[in-house]
Symmetry: C2
Subunit: 387 residues, 2 copies
């Protein structure tokens, strides 16, 4: 059973967890608060895969005060030796008397084991407090643990009448600068960005995260992670880069991309899905040949499985109507983010999703609204796809 004090401290732990969201991939974002005699004696959050877990930061800050304390942690403490020792053991060793977790680990192979280890050591261990909030912060990670696939968000930008470009291809700019900054934030939150050769060629797009275009709040998150010296652990963090660049995944089955494009001139890893491997790219570019369908299209379910294997939790897709339509047809889209500009382009302009014609209303794709807000001069609509 949880009381209102529990909720208060868990809310703080969730706040801490969120600070790691931009750097923690492919790990989940986790926050921890240690409370003794109704006073916070230690806090921490997970910053980077390979670095200390949230519990370690919090326990080090608490020191001897952890004895008899309650630990609030947004994800069930780990029970296995990975790149770091198990946090459940660290909590036991520190002598905490109670552990409250928000989510249990979504990985069915470890789910509940951390709690069990704590209980075996005589610690009162409960989970489920504000689990929805914690799951939302790590929905990509949770989704991949459950399904083996990334959580896929398709980003679209259109006029109010659902058009992405004029018939002649012109589209700069449909949406305003605030929407484009918001896209930068989504890119920074994602593990990988998927796009097609068309998009890269038409706009000579870099598809990277650009410091100067990030909202200030995101810049502040990066700064905090880079400069925080929580319990003297800074040296172990090795957050030396100003940004974590998501993996850029580009479908180029017709081998149309050449090394001189802007895409290849900015830092960050690139996975190039090609018809054949040609070489000639920088060391940050991996060429890869994946199976195709009998019609010569990339096998998209196979692509998603491969990205899952590569620990991509959250995939952000910026693509045209053809790739978007193919993903929709393959029921691979989990979520849509549509920036709608206060403009009308008319029925001759290009549409959002190229999919085969539906002949009955019962066949159309259903969505579920998640959010609707103004972003600068545009409206941002977020919806989940009911696959």
């Amino acid at each position: 059973m949880f009381n209102s004090q529990d909720a208060h401290y868990m809310a703080r732990a969730l706040e801490l967890a969120k600070r790691g969201r931009f750097t923690v991939s492919p790990n989940p974002a986790v926050g921890c608060v240690i409370v003794r005699h109704d006073k916070i004696v230690g806090e921490g959050y997970h910053r980077q895969a390979g670095g200390p877990h949230a519990e370690v930061f919090a326990l080090r800050q608490a020191g001897a005060a952890a004895k008899g304390a309650t630990a609030y942690v947004t994800l069930e403490p780990c029970s296995h030796y990975g790149r770091t020792p198990p946090c459940a053991q660290a909590l036991i060793d520190a002598g905490v008397s109670r552990v409250v977790a928000a989510s249990v680990d979504a990985n069915p192979q470890v789910s509940g084991r951390g709690l069990a280890m704590l209980r075996e050591a005589g610690i009162m261990a409960e989970a489920g407090l504000m689990a929805a909030e914690s799951d939302a912060i790590n929905r990509g990670f949770m989704h991949r643990m459950r399904t083996g696939l990334p959580f896929v968000t398709v980003k679209l930008a259109s006029s109010l009448d659902g058009r992405t470009a004029l018939a002649n291809g012109q589209s700069k700019w449909i949406t305003g600068s605030a929407a484009r900054r918001d896209v930068q934030r989504h890119r920074a939150l994602s593990c990988a960005i998927l796009s097609g050769a068309d998009t890269v060629l038409v706009d000579n797009a870099s598809l990277n995260v650009r410091w100067a275009e990030l909202p200030e709040s995101v810049q502040a998150s990066y700064d905090e992670v880079r400069t925080a010296d929580n319990a003297g652990e800074l040296a172990s963090l090795q957050v030396s880069q100003p940004l974590r660049q998501p993996l850029r995944v580009i479908i180029d089955t017709r081998n149309r991309l050449t090394p001189h494009l802007a895409l290849f001139s900015v830092p960050g890893p690139i996975l190039l899905l090609r018809g054949q491997v040609t070489g000639g790219f920088n060391a940050n570019v991996e060429e890869c040949v994946l199976p195709c369908t009998p019609l010569g299209q990339l096998d998209l379910p196979e692509l998603m499985a491969e990205l899952g294997r590569r620990q991509i939790n959250h995939l952000w897709v910026e693509a045209g109507a053809r790739l978007g339509g193919a993903l929709l047809e393959a029921t691979l889209i989990d979520e849509l983010v549509l920036y709608q500009a206060p403009k009308l382009m008319g029925s001759t302009a290009r549409g959002l999703f190229d999919i085969p014609e539906r002949v009955a209303m019962s066949q159309i794709t259903r969505l579920e609204w998640q959010d609707c807000r103004q972003v600068g001069e545009d409206i941002k609509l977020t919806a989940r796809v009911k696959n």
Copy 2:
């Protein structure tokens, strides 16, 4: 100069004004509050053209207490003999010492005259307090007074990808029942509804206001107007109908509509814009032949001028992509209301506006967001057109 007490009473007068919005056409909605020694002694609002004005109701309720009082009125009191004697004179006769108006009359021929008449009688008369709110309540009336034309709102319903129907024409139902009830409210607020023969034929649409489908708040407004006995004036109101039906204006230049359609079987006036007058319709139907363009299309600016002459303040358009596109091309749309369903129909489905192809982004129509909200399962976006 206005103080916070003035704002308080004017807010009440605006609240009263709104009660008349569903029945007052083609007059503006007006509310009046009479205050003496910081106490409301009389209230009223205008219910129906030909019935007493707001000031008359309020003065009758106030009786002798009006002497030395302040009258708050949302629109400058009238100074001319119309169907009722001038309210400025009534305020003078009652002995009020101060009049505070929100809007001045938008009709340039009478604007300021009511205030002038009051000042000549030694009454302190000021205008402009919360004028934006009052103008918003009567934006159709204000627009017609300024331009001679109705304020034109085009209603659209589409999927998230901007599609109104499948390629084969199927569209029932894109939006949910809450959106359809909201449309009933908009119809009830409008002076006339414009549509085309296609819409009438495809859906056998009635395009009327239906009591059972109105939101409860609108039903309550009608009930209030019908049953209120403010200062014993009920008998003079003659609000006997349960509803005021807006004029239905149907473009049927190819004379395709026949008298057996549902449109003609429900009460309320109809203006049928035909290629030629054939007769054979009920008495509530007026056939009318308006000028056409050289291409045989109805001259839409001429139609709007005609509707202005017929005192249509606010025109609500429910039409397909062709009429919508033609109105857009003619820069006759003031506002769009788009109900967006959480659905995707794909690029083969029908678009929102059939307009000639744009070849540069600088040519596309710009809008200004007014509102964005969830209505049942759909999102309702309201935008003004920057013509």
